[in-house]
């Protein structure tokens, strides 16, 4: 626009009998006064152009990520109920929570759930990935089958596990009983620790394919020549894994485990379908407790406080995996120290 109008003005000047050619030249050399503003310069400045391209994405992120997050944190400092905006009450929600045994139980449950499930998912997932990376018959079909738990909607698999763990109709109890190994049904979800382990097993079952397939993708980027070289040098299988495969896999492990920990830490559907946090809150995670208090119970402020209390844990998990596993400079294309 600015260019066109500038051009047009020159044309007008050229045909203006009162305006000699020299004046036109001077006018051309001097930018139009309007173009001199900082704003106009910013609009065309190459260094700023990146900002303009980022703006739509930034707006999107602010609107749909930062704003809800900020609102959640703000709500945790109010006594908001569903359908009623609250007033600022400072740390009152947090004070009540700090002395709330159910809340601390949910923190313990969440940490246990995340640590155990993530560790097992990593170990089994890595093992599966190594197996799937071998040459074997029906490779493509086997890989597809491994993905099934991940493809099935969580709620459906949770309902399946709910039947598997049923107090009266559990297929596990039934089978063991008919084999004569146990007398009564196993109390999968009615005993605190049984319920915790049952939920963790269900989560592991569901989470393994994600870890396995992603690590498999990572394994396939490792150049076969490295293995050949290692074999020629006389390395055994463990040494090849330890000194060739594993170091090359660390970047992808960092990514996979960050996601895996985040998914596990914020799990909701599985618990909600299986136990709703019972028995006696033994399987309440912070996410389910937050939902129960905020949405079902109507105490939005308190629920928001529980959700907000998850943020430090999540940040710690992210920082740990990124700084712990991604320090090597060569991962950013530089040589290793």
């Amino acid at each position: 626009m600015a260019f066109i109008s500038f051009h047009a003005r020159r044309e007008v000047n050229a045909f203006n009998p009162e305006c000699p050619m020299t004046d036109v030249a001077i006018q051309n050399a001097r930018p139009a006064p309007r173009a001199a503003t900082t704003w106009d310069r910013l609009k065309v400045n190459r260094d700023w152009i990146a900002l303009w391209f980022m703006l739509p994405t930034a707006a999107f992120l602010i609107l749909f990520l930062a704003y809800p997050l900020g609102l959640g944190v703000w709500l945790s400092f109010t006594d908001a109920r569903i359908g009623r905006s609250g007033v600022f009450i400072g740390l009152e929600n947090y004070n009540w929570l700090s002395d709330d045994s159910v809340f601390w139980l949910s923190v313990f449950n969440t940490l246990l759930y995340t640590v155990v499930a993530s560790a097992v998912k990593f170990a089994v997932g890595l093992y599966l990935a190594l197996l799937l990376n071998q040459n074997m018959p029906f490779k493509a079909i086997v890989r597809a089958i491994v993905l099934i738990p991940f493809i099935v909607p969580t709620v459906l698999s949770a309902i399946a596990f709910w039947w598997i763990y049923d107090a009266q109709f559990s297929i596990i109890s039934w089978s063991l009983r008919h084999m004569g190994l146990i007398d009564g049904n196993i109390n999968f979800l009615g005993d605190s620790w049984n319920a915790r382990w049952s939920a963790i097993v269900a989560n592991i079952w569901r989470g393994i394919p994600f870890v396995a397939i992603t690590l498999l993708a990572g394994l396939q980027t490792v150049s076969p020549s490295l293995y050949e070289a290692a074999t020629i040098d006389g390395a055994n299988r463990w040494q090849i894994f330890r000194h060739v495969t594993f170091p090359l896999l660390t970047p992808i492990i960092a990514v996979v485990m960050t996601f895996s920990v985040l998914f596990t830490f914020t799990d909701f559907q599985l618990i909600w379908v299986l136990t709703r946090g019972g028995p006696v809150n033994a399987t309440h995670l912070m996410a389910t407790l937050s939902y129960q208090r905020a949405i079902i119970g109507g105490h939005l402020g308190e629920g928001a406080a529980i959700s907000t209390a998850m943020i430090p844990f999540l940040l710690a998990a992210i920082l740990l995996s990124w700084f712990g596993l991604q320090r090597r400079k060569w991962q950013q294309g530089e040589s290793n120290d």
Partner: protein, 440 residues
């Protein structure tokens, strides 16, 4: 109480109860005449939208839709119906009340109108009209419907939570009649366990079945979670008695009740793994529908909860009140519709279609043949008269609702029964939770 997975099983209903009702053109004539004579004249071009709890018995919803349709034909008021799971009506209604936009009418659970009394249309005239015509509202309905001198909602119906038991197994255990006292009931539970025909109450996070029996147990022994001023009084010798009683029951229940949700006992009862439990009438309806379960239906019956040391009925049933929002542009149409729903010519066939799942709050409907043509349904006739309200002695609003939805009492009972905590600790934990909820 019931569950959504069972819903498919309880589809359909008896046409028997509906036979007494008007049908076809006669019904339309009656509807039109009613609309002419009714004290409430819908506004010109009125349109209503209603959000209701999602049905448990398909036939009940069919009747509901037919009823709305008849209202439209008689008055010209178009009605849009939407449905939500019964736990989700409350959050939606709260948001609508706060933002001043949404459905004109909400039909939800327990003390819904008391969450935002100033946002509810005053329906005192409707309540008086219906009360006068049909024998006066029962006590619990007045508590759920009224705030001060004003009716802010109309208690449409209850869904009862009563004892379901197998007849032959009970007789074998030496009980020709279901026990009516708590002491006797404990003996019954022990005898049933000894005969390898145990039963059970849910102690997991089961919003319906779990909450209803623990409130009964607490009240039966004189315990109260709050007093009349909403002061927390859960930590009491009476509560301890109730806990000890519940533990004695629990030790003689089928294993695994701590994991039960609302549908577990339905499954176990129909699967003949348990022989007594608490539930709505849905097990019986489902057993009747399923040809392979006919013998269960024939061999089962329903009973009131036994009376405890306090000597009177202390049951908690699920109340479903309806309310109109003050933001509605058509308050007269709302009132007309509510009154229309509860008129005998509509309500009788509707109760009939629900086969006992819906219990009335107006004594005149005791006469509905649905309650007597099958004597096994009869106990559900009286749930409104026997029910206490969710607030106990205290207020009936959002605090009582939060205490229920947060499973405070249920967890207190469960933690003691399963041996996780002793009585003192369980009560102290519950007291702490209640203080959090009841803080002003």
């Amino acid at each position: 109480m019931t569950n959504f997975t069972r819903r498919t099983l309880v589809r359909g209903g008896t046409a028997a109860a509906a036979t007494a009702a008007l049908t076809g053109p006669a019904f339309l004539e009656w509807s039109k005449a009613w609309a002419q004579a009714a004290p409430w004249k819908p506004e010109k071009d009125a349109q209503l939208s209603i959000l209701r709890w999602k049905y448990f018995v398909q036939a009940e919803d069919d009747k509901f839709v037919a009823l709305m349709d008849a209202f439209t034909k008689a008055t010209g008021v178009k009605i849009t119906i939407s449905r939500e799971s019964y736990e989700d009506v409350q959050p939606k209604a709260s948001v609508a009340a706060n933002t001043g936009a949404g459905p004109d009418l909400f039909w939800g659970l327990y003390s819904l109108p008391h969450l935002f009394p100033q946002k509810c249309v005053d329906v005192t005239d409707v309540a008086d009209y219906l009360g006068k015509k049909y024998g006066g509202w029962v006590d619990s309905a007045v508590k759920y419907g009224k705030e001060g001198n004003k009716w802010i909602g109309i208690p449409i119906c209850y869904t009862g939570s009563l004892i379901n038991y197998r007849i032959a197994a009970s007789q074998k255990a030496g009980f020709s009649k279901f026990p009516s006292k708590t002491d006797e009931f404990l003996e019954y539970v022990k005898a049933m366990k000894k005969n390898n025909t145990p039963g059970g109450f849910a102690l997991g996070h089961a919003p319906g079945d779990g909450n209803t029996w623990v409130y009964w147990c607490l009240w039966a022994h004189g315990g109260q979670h709050v007093d009349a001023n909403d002061k927390v009084t859960i930590n009491s010798p009476e509560t301890e008695k109730a806990l000890n009683y519940a533990k004695a029951l629990y030790e003689n229940m089928v294993p695994g009740t701590a994991s039960w949700n609302d549908s577990s006992n339905n499954k176990a009862f129909l699967g003949e793994e348990i022989h007594w439990t608490n539930n709505g009438i849905s097990i019986y309806v489902a057993a009747n529908k399923d040809a392979t379960k006919k013998h269960v239906a024939e061999d089962m019956n329903h009973a009131y909860y036994p009376l405890g040391p306090v000597g009177k009925a202390t049951e908690l049933h699920l109340m479903f009140p309806i309310l109109a929002m003050t933001y509605t542009k058509y308050p007269q149409a709302c009132k007309a519709l509510i009154a229309f729903m509860l008129e005998a010519d509509n309500f009788n066939p509707w109760i009939g279609a629900a086969q006992g799942y819906i219990s009335h709050c107006l004594p005149a409907f005791d006469k509905n043949p649905i309650w007597t043509e099958d004597p096994k349904r009869t106990p559900y006739r009286d749930v409104a008269k026997r029910s206490l309200t969710a607030g106990g002695l205290g207020s009936n609003g959002e605090k009582a609702a939060a205490a229920i939805s947060d499973y405070v009492l249920l967890d207190m009972f469960a933690s003691f029964c399963t041996g996780k905590d002793d009585a003192k600790t369980s009560m102290r934990n519950a007291e702490r939770q209640l203080q959090r909820i009841y803080r002003s």
